[in-house]
Amino acid sequence: MNELRREMLDSSDAPAELSPDLRFLASRQASLAALMLDHAEHYKVLYTAARESGITEEIQTAALDAAGNLGTLLQSLRSREDLQIALAHAPGYTPTPMLAVDQLFFSFTLLAGVGRDSLDQLDAALGLEGVDELFRSQRVRDWLHGLGELAPGE
């Protein structure tokens, strides 16, 4: 396992007073929020390079690695969707916007798998404006605020 994924899946920094289930959820959500912010910028760089200079092996390798990072956390979180459902109406709890994060994962996957001579396949992936639109969604903003990844008013 690479170093980043080892850190992402490490729950040891979650508050000790929480139950094991809540420690799991808190840790995975915090990792996913940080990863989403980081990988959105990473995606924009790779997408722009692909559009401007064409697909290269380096772009595809980086895109597959990024999709793997997101997929690892998303799979882990979805394996315990029962927890999110149980907490859905708990005060102060904002569910993970899985569908929104999935769009970034799917776009990296398209970038990783697109043919070198068929860039039009990228038309289904998020464009730069599409990525920004995800972060303007109230559900994503509330989630990031709740996890301390966005300052109030940001």
């Binding site: 396992m1 690479n2 994924r5 899946l9 597959l64 690695d65 999709a67 793997g68 997929g71 690892t72 998303l74 799979q75 882990s76 979805r78 394996s79 969707e81 899985m98 569908l99 999935d102 769009q103 994962f105 799917f106 776009s107 996957t109 398209l110 990783a112 798998g113 697109v114 396949q121 289904a124 992936a125 998020l126």
Partner: protein, 147 residues
């Protein structure tokens, strides 16, 4: 179906019905693909043997999910869809197959990203899409005959 057009329901928009069929085929095909490639992975197949097909499967799910997401965000009023036409669980089940297939395309997949055979075969039940799968399967004579 064009972005920015007046919202339509699935009943009057055959192109959205085609998208739903695309989701169904992506689910059926990749359920089998994910089970087979996972078995091969555990049997010791190398990454190079799995990569191309795993990535092709993940890419197909990614494509149909992205197009559907944009249609639901900009064209179709999902509140107007008849019950059961497109259960939300379909997206979860397809996403989980795509995460696993992406992992199988990697040289050193993270075990937590993979699905077990029980996970794979339990997806339709877990996400309460058994009726959806059965209905679409029954409306596809080719698939019905093949089973």
């Amino acid at each position: 179906m064009r972005l920015g057009r007046t919202p339509q329901t699935a009943e009057v928009d055959p192109e959205f019905a085609q998208l739903i069929a695309g989701l169904y085929y992506a689910f059926e095909d990749n359920l089998e693909r994910c089970a087979r490639l996972t078995r091969l992975y555990h049997d010791g197949a190398s990454a190079s043997e799995l990569r191309e097909e795993a990535l092709a499967g993940a890419k197909r799910i990614a494509y149909v999910e992205r197009v559907t997401f944009e249609a639901m965000a900009h064209v179709i009023d999902i509140r107007s869809l008849p019950p059961g036409v497109l259960p939300m669980g379909v997206h979860s089940a397809l996403a989980r197959l795509a995460y696993a297939l992406t992992a199988l395309a990697e040289a050193d997949p993270e075990p937590e990203a993979l699905l077990s055979q029980d996970d794979i075969h339990g997806l339709a039940h877990q996400y309460e899409i058994e009726d959806w799968v059965t209905h679409l399967r029954e409306h596809n004579p080719d698939l019905k005959a093949a089973r």
